[in-house]
Symmetry: C2
Subunit: 411 residues, 2 copies
């Protein structure tokens, strides 16, 4: 009897009717002989409402209390789905993070799972019960306080539970029917992928694809949890398989490029004529790191006068003003001539495990983009992806160009 984790996000449990639809999906898997743990998010809109209340109560709200407030959203859904399952004749009980328990760090608001004790769940399975688990939440052992894993954390809950109960697979039900070669709203010819390797999915999630939380993919990779992304809006009696995220060895026909991602959450900062001397990079980047600002792409270009250099890098848009303020306050120490910033930029990336064994993949892209008159502001590459920073106005054109270039268009 195989075990299965099924995870349903906010839009899939937005109201009672949809919760009853979720119960039908669960019914199918139980009828097929599976022991099922269901992980649920809050009804869509609920978490935002709860977060809004916390902000209204205090601009500087306590993250411990924030966690107590927002975790209530998942608590409601887990109870309601257990009721809906019982209503159609299946044994079910709800589990909160502290009841299982799902132990986490005490980093309230973005806690990390430290361990899951599967004993209580095992006992429920032995009694033929479906376990309906509140995603997104856990408990810190020493303080006994409710924690949450950060937005989208229910995906991480699902994968972690799958690992803890040794599930055969983890099905992430969402409002899309799988992982696509790129955003179908931009490229109508985008194709749904049958399989994606963990590492590719990790890059795609990191680089802008919103279908899964990055940490859930990391966890799936570490524990080798075969994870499907599939639609909760399929007919429960006859659903599509969706996209399997799995070890690359399972993927026989590997494309060179698997997908094109883009992220608008980038801002560019250029420091002109920075003195080209040892320690200058530290003077720039240590204060930013201290302020918890993630620096992504970094390019250093020697200026024409050869004694100074131009340094360009990107930060998340939300941190742009903070980063600028920090750099301006240490202007004397860094000794730069001017600071230029741009928020109307976008990072477009191509991802594919095939890049490991194929040279010149990125160069081909640079040429194609240049032919379309798209100026590349910065480039980063890694073993299985490359990214270019371009003007935001060219986002769609660049994505479509690369999508065609690597033969991803649906025929």
């Amino acid at each position: 009897m195989a075990r299965l984790v099924m995870k349903f996000g906010g839009t899939s449990v937005a109201n009672i009717e949809r919760i009853k639809n979720v119960a039908q999906h669960v019914k199918r898997e139980v009828d097929a002989g599976h022991q099922v743990a269901v992980v649920v998010s809050a009804m869509s809109g609920k978490t935002n409402e709860l977060v809004g209340w916390c902000k209204d109560a205090s601009r500087l709200y306590d993250n411990r209390e924030y966690d107590t407030v927002v975790a209530s959203g998942e608590q409601v859904t887990s109870g309601l789905l257990a009721i809906a399952l019982q209503d159609i004749g299946y044994k079910a009980r709800s589990w909160q993070g502290w009841q299982i328990p799902i132990l986490t760090s005490d980093a309230h608001g973005s806690a990390r799972i430290a361990g899951i004790d599967g004993k209580n769940l095992d006992e429920g399975f032995a009694h033929g019960e479906v376990a309906v688990i509140s995603g997104f939440q856990g408990v810190h052992e020493a303080t006994g306080r409710i924690t949450t894993l950060g937005r989208g954390g229910s995906d991480t809950s699902a994968v972690a539970i799958a690992a803890a109960i040794k599930a055969e697979r983890c099905d992430i039900y969402t409002d899309v029917d799988g992982v696509y070669t790129t955003d179908p709203r931009i490229v109508p010819k985008a194709r749904r992928l049958d399989k994606v390797a963990f590492e590719e999915m990790l890059e795609m999630a990191s680089l802008g694809a919103k279908v899964l939380q990055v940490r859930s993919v990391e966890l799936a990779m570490v524990h080798n949890v075969r994870t499907y992304v599939r639609s909760s809006f399929d007919d429960p009696a006859n659903p599509q398989a969706g996209t399997l995220i799995c070890d690359e060895e399972e993927i026989v026909e590997q494309q060179i490029v698997t997908g094109i991602a883009y992220s608008k959450d980038e801002a560019q900062i250029t420091l002109r004529r920075v003195a080209d001397k040892p320690g200058v990079a530290a003077a720039i980047f240590v204060p930013l790191a201290d302020a918890n600002i993630n620096v992504d792409m970094i390019i250093q270009v020697v200026s024409d006068d050869t004694t100074t250099t131009d340094i360009t890098f990107t930060v998340p848009t939300a941190d742009f003003e903070r980063a600028r303020a920090i750099l301006e306050s240490s202007r004397d120490k860094i000794a730069y001539q001017s600071l230029q910033g741009a928020t109307d930029v976008v990072k477009v990336s191509a991802i594919g495990i095939g890049m490991r064994s194929h040279a010149g993949v990125a160069a081909k892209a640079f040429k194609a983009l240049a032919e379309k008159g798209i100026n590349i502001r910065a480039i980063t590459t890694s073993e299985i992806k490359f990214s270019v920073l371009i003007d935001a106005a060219y986002t769609e054109l660049a994505v479509r160009t690369l999508h065609s270039l690597y033969g991803l268009d649906r025929t």
Copy 2:
């Protein structure tokens, strides 16, 4: 340093603005040097919404899951109030029933408090923290599942916590400014009482006054918790004292009658010409008791033929149809001629500890009601109250008549 419990109901925490107002009430008491435990209900409307969802998910919902769902309402409020208190510079933390813990029976949906361990709260007080406690909820020790105390249970939580932490008093903040001699909507001349004895309040709550939950008054009486009913809409800087519910020894000038209550939640059933033989009362009332139907007033009148008798009694309106069905199904066994029912009846009661030492209090009422042409369908009396069952159309007239008769009108 005296300890204090402050309880705020749903309308007092209906939105963030009101929660901030509650924080001002708490601030006043902390500034006065008290160690404060605040007990909060769900934001008004929330519990009904959650209950509605449970009903929509299944007509026969599991009470254990119902408790999980509805307890989330208080969880939200406790977190938000803790944030609001921190926002104005006070240390505070929220406590859920399972965190304290408040141990209860496993009668989900209407659990009884079995014990409260005050150790965690003591520790918080030692750190100068305000304890913000979710009312209405607890946890069953053996199963670790969330329980709720039934509607209005937050009053009971507050009194039980006051007893557990040995609070000097328990202030129940509500949308009225105290306990009145009767419903001011019916009798504009109703007066607010400065003090009410526990036993009087218990009768008043049982007989229809909605200001406090019956079980909270029982608990206050047993543990001698001095309990104030007062308004959360008073100016937090300068509030009124409200009504003190206390031991009768604290009440110097005891009225004969303290208050007039009424309850529309009564239905009358009369069985005509029941065979007047041993065991007939059991034949009627045992099946009703087995069905968990509370029978209140019972009157037996011998019929004119002397071999049969008419039996009249009342049941809660909600149980009327069920009671009728049970009696009709055992018609042969009971052997009655006909069953007559009425739901347009009301029970009007006068309550006062002074009745113990004064004879003829009720008789005076029967005469006054007769003079107004009000027919009395049934009567019950106890040491400190009497109740009459009358046609609902006469409710206001009867309440006003008794209120004047016993000198309760404000002058």
